[in-house]
């Protein structure tokens, strides 16, 4: 088992980078900022790999099951004998896996940014923010109690806010970062209430104790939580659903997803790190962390998770088919894939074979992190090359950017679920779990998976094929080593990660899950995926007007999808028209006329009264003396004859 210092250093190294670069990033360390941040990240990544390797192959497995280890725990705030806020680290398959994902993707992004962000005015600050984000995310992953996770949860939100708004002189970026912050903040309110409910009934904040108490039907806490009911559901269900709302906000689940596409205003590597691979899966992580509570005690809440997941996946896939900004396509694709993870958790049971969905979900999280980061970095490379986010400015780039082309293709194949790439295995497992759990969800997922293949290859063909390379020579070369190295490395992972027997290591109850591979079952999804690819190639391989004609014939649906089903407009309507008019205006009126009025009244009355008594302060000494004498006499009479 590695020492506490080893584990502590994993998040603290990026934090050190944040502190150093935050203070000196604009002055002394401006030049080497990128190398410093990357070096610290590399060290952190190596430690994380070492820890995870040790956990999975050395000390983690006891009696055939992976244990939840808490190598370090200290009391931070003690409220009462039972309830205290601790700071600690948790090591279990989930957190060990996440450690690897976060540090690895973060390292790739650090390296990639060396080239991508070169010459940026606030280069040092950028790396400082990256360090802060990585620190927060690692802290979140390692949190041993629900309150600590909340702290890091918010820190992650803040660093995401900072990074989306990195180009703060661009109004759209400012609007996007505010939107992201407000929407997730709104969801976090639900999370906070959920924490309070769960910890109130559980009587603890610690994950291990909480889960043990809230999954044991005979425990007093569990009975209290089940018996307390509110609006027809038990307190426990409410707590779980509220926690899930927090997760849904961070993970951009419908209907709280509106911030994610706008968040693409941030620098592209940031999108790869935060809005594709790590932060947005925090919601999945959270549900997975509390999975026993969901699965054993509140199956109702788990159904909510499943349906919200699958609906998000489907809607996002449809919208992704119509978008023309390549980063937005990827954003909706991310949302769709997270939907897959969510409903995989939702259809899963706890323990043994029933826990297939859990393993599948986290497997997909793992592989998705690889290929989605790759897609974003590839898109970044393309954007870097053509200086535009729009598909119409691209096309025929395959000869100009060979490395990007090949790696992007691998990522697309992976996400489309074509064997033997990584996405195939994880998606198969998810679909298998769904088919066992809920047939309705399974069919929706199947269609979505076909759509996924279609929109990803639409993207691929529009970027790299379609038009013939009419691009001028002024675009120059593809990019340097720092830009291409992460692409290649991630492409290798995206191609090979599927062969990891993931269920052996990460499963709902810690015991290895032997997932059998069923070639018959795979026929349908793969066929759908291939069909999607062929359809996309028919539309987009060569420049033609087929797509436009189909779009015209499906005008209503197409326009609705292009406009993201008007969800943003709906929110605007609700906030601007309904909230502002019905709540804001009366509140403003009350504030102006009653609250301010009361304050003004006090002020005016004071002024009036002071004017009244101002005359007493006349400066006429003799008047004072007379009043004084009169007062003394009156007091003398009073004291001598009345109060004696």
């Amino acid at each position: 088992m590695p020492s506490i210092a080893t584990i502590a250093l994993i998040p603290l190294l990026p934090f050190a980078g944040f502190v150093l670069l935050g203070i000196f990033g604009r002055t002394a360390l401006k030049k080497p900022a990128g190398y410093l941040g990357t070096a610290l990240m590399l060290a952190s990544c190596i430690l994380a790999l070492y820890t995870a390797y040790g956990y999975f192959f050395d000390f983690g497995k006891i009696h055939g099951a992976y244990q939840k280890l808490v190598p370090f725990q200290m009391t931070w705030l003690e409220f009462s004998k039972d309830v205290s806020i601790n700071i600690g680290f948790i090591l279990d398959p989930l957190s060990a896996m996440m450690l690897v994902v976060v540090t690895f993707i973060s390292l790739m992004v650090h390296i990639y940014s060396l080239s991508y962000m070169k010459g940026e005015e606030r280069f040092g600050t950028y790396y400082a923010f990256l360090g802060l984000f990585t620190f927060s995310m690692l802290g979140l992953v390692l949190s041993s109690n629900i309150f600590q996770i909340y702290i890091f949860w918010e820190l992650v939100g803040v660093s995401s806010f900072l990074l989306i708004g990195f180009y703060y002189d661009k109004p759209s970026a400012v609007a996007a970062c505010k939107k992201a912050f407000i929407v997730t903040r709104f969801a976090d309110l639900g999370f906070l209430i959920g924490i309070l409910v769960l910890s109130y009934y559980g009587g603890t904040l610690d994950f291990g104790t909480l889960i043990a108490r809230l999954t044991d039907p005979s425990s007093t806490q569990m009975q209290a939580a089940v018996n307390a009911s509110f609006l027809g559901a038990s307190a426990l269900t409410w707590g779980a659903v509220l926690v899930f709302i927090g997760g849904a906000g961070k993970s951009a689940m419908f209907p709280l997803h509106i911030w994610l596409p706008d968040a693409m205003e941030g620098p592209t590597p940031v999108s790869a790190l935060i809005h594709a691979a790590t932060m947005v899966v925090a919601g999945v992580y959270l549900v997975a962390r509390l999975f026993p509570v969901f699965a054993i005690s509140v199956p109702g809440a788990l159904h909510v998770v499943a349906y919200i997941g699958v609906v998000s996946a489907m809607i996002a896939a449809v919208i992704a088919c119509t978008q023309t900004d390549i980063k937005r396509v990827l954003a909706y694709s991310t949302m769709s894939q997270i939907g897959f993870m969510m409903f995989a958790l939702g259809v899963s049971g706890y323990g043994g074979e029933a826990g297939l969905g859990y393993s599948a979900s986290l497997f997909h999280l793992f592989t998705h992190a690889m290929f989605k980061a790759l897609l974003f970095l590839g898109a970044g490379s393309v954007i870097h090359f053509v200086h535009s986010n729009e598909m119409k400015d691209m096309g025929g780039l395959r000869k100009l950017m060979p490395v990007t082309h090949i790696t992007f293709l691998i990522a697309c194949l992976a996400i489309a679920g074509v064997p033997p790439f990584a996405g195939f295995f994880s998606k198969e497992e998810i679909l298998l779990a769904a088919s066992r759990g809920n047939t309705g969800i399974y069919y929706m997922a199947l269609i979505t998976s076909g759509l996924t293949a279609f929109y990803m290859f639409r993207l691929y063909f529009r970027i790299f094929w379609n038009k013939e390379a009419g691009h001028d020579a002024h675009h120059g070369k593809e990019g340097g080593f720092a830009l291409l190295f992460p692409l290649v490395l991630l492409a290798l992972c995206a191609a090979g990660a599927g062969f990891i027997p993931f269920g052996e290591y990460v499963s709902s109850d810690g015991t290895p899950l032997h997932s059998e591979f069923d070639p018959v079952f795979s026929i349908a999804p793969v066929a759908l995926g291939v069909a999607g690819i062929l359809l996309a190639s028919w539309f987009y391989l060569r420049a033609n007007d087929r797509a436009d004609r189909v779009a015209a014939s499906l005008k209503g649906l197409y326009t609705a999808a292009y406009n993201k089903f008007y969800i943003d407009e709906l929110y605007l309507f609700i906030t601007k028209k309904v909230l502002f008019n019905l709540v804001g205006r009366p509140a403003a009126w009350i504030d102006r006329n009653i609250v301010d009025g009361a304050v003004n009244l006090v002020g005016n009355e004071t002024v009036a009264f002071s004017k009244l008594i101002k005359k007493l302060q006349s400066g006429k000494v003799q008047q004072y003396a007379i009043v004084f004498l009169g007062g003394v006499l009156v007091l003398a009479v009073l004291f001598i004859y009345i109060w004696h």
Binding site: Q622, I626, L629, G630, V632, L633, A636, V637, I640
Partner: protein, 172 residues
């Protein structure tokens, strides 16, 4: 009715009458002179009470110091023969009323109160005794108040100078 009593009442009459005249006359120089006589009357009462030292101090400091200072300031600020400005009649009436009430109240209280006169062994208030106790640091000694008062006098001295100087600089 002996000489001592007569002298006392004469002194009392002098003091009160001159005091009243001092606050009522409209010629400021006369007010100062009446004040001198009132103070001298008080000094006489001190003599009558056999407190020679205090009587001497009263004459030296008050009559010889303070009143002379007042007269100087009158010379500095007042044209000769000018009458003092009249006070508003309402203020006068109210003041007389208040003063009379206060006086009546005080006298009623004084006469209702039975003072316990102490006929014990008296300490002679001669200069030797006063000096010993004034500079004694033992119990009942007044060395500390003496020092405090001397500091106060010094402060007053400095204060007077400061007030006088600052004005000159301003006008210069």
């Amino acid at each position: 009715m002996n000489g001592s009593t007569i002298i006392f009442y004469l002194l009392a009459a002098l003091t009160i009458v001159c005091g009243v005249l001092s606050v009522s006359t409209r010629q400021i120089f006369r007010a100062a002179i009446y004040l001198i006589f009132s103070l001298i009357g008080i000094a006489g009462i001190y003599f009558w009470l056999d407190y020679q030292f205090i009587a001497a101090v009263q004459v030296v400091v008050y009559v010889g110091g303070i009143v002379v200072l007042i007269i100087f300031s009158i010379f500095l600020t007042q044209q000769a023969g000018e009458l003092l400005p009249k006070q508003k009649i309402g203020r006068k009436i109210f003041s007389v009323l208040a003063v009379f009430c206060g006086f009546a109240l005080t006298m009623v209280q004084v006469y209702q109160h039975a003072f316990y006169e102490n006929d014990g062994e008296a300490v002679k208030p001669v200069v030797a005794n006063i000096g010993k106790q004034m500079l004694s640091t033992k119990q009942g000694g007044y060395a500390l108040p003496f020092e405090v008062v001397s500091i106060l006098l010094l402060a007053a001295l400095v204060g007077c100078i400061v007030i006088a100087i600052s004005k000159k600089e301003e006008t210069a």
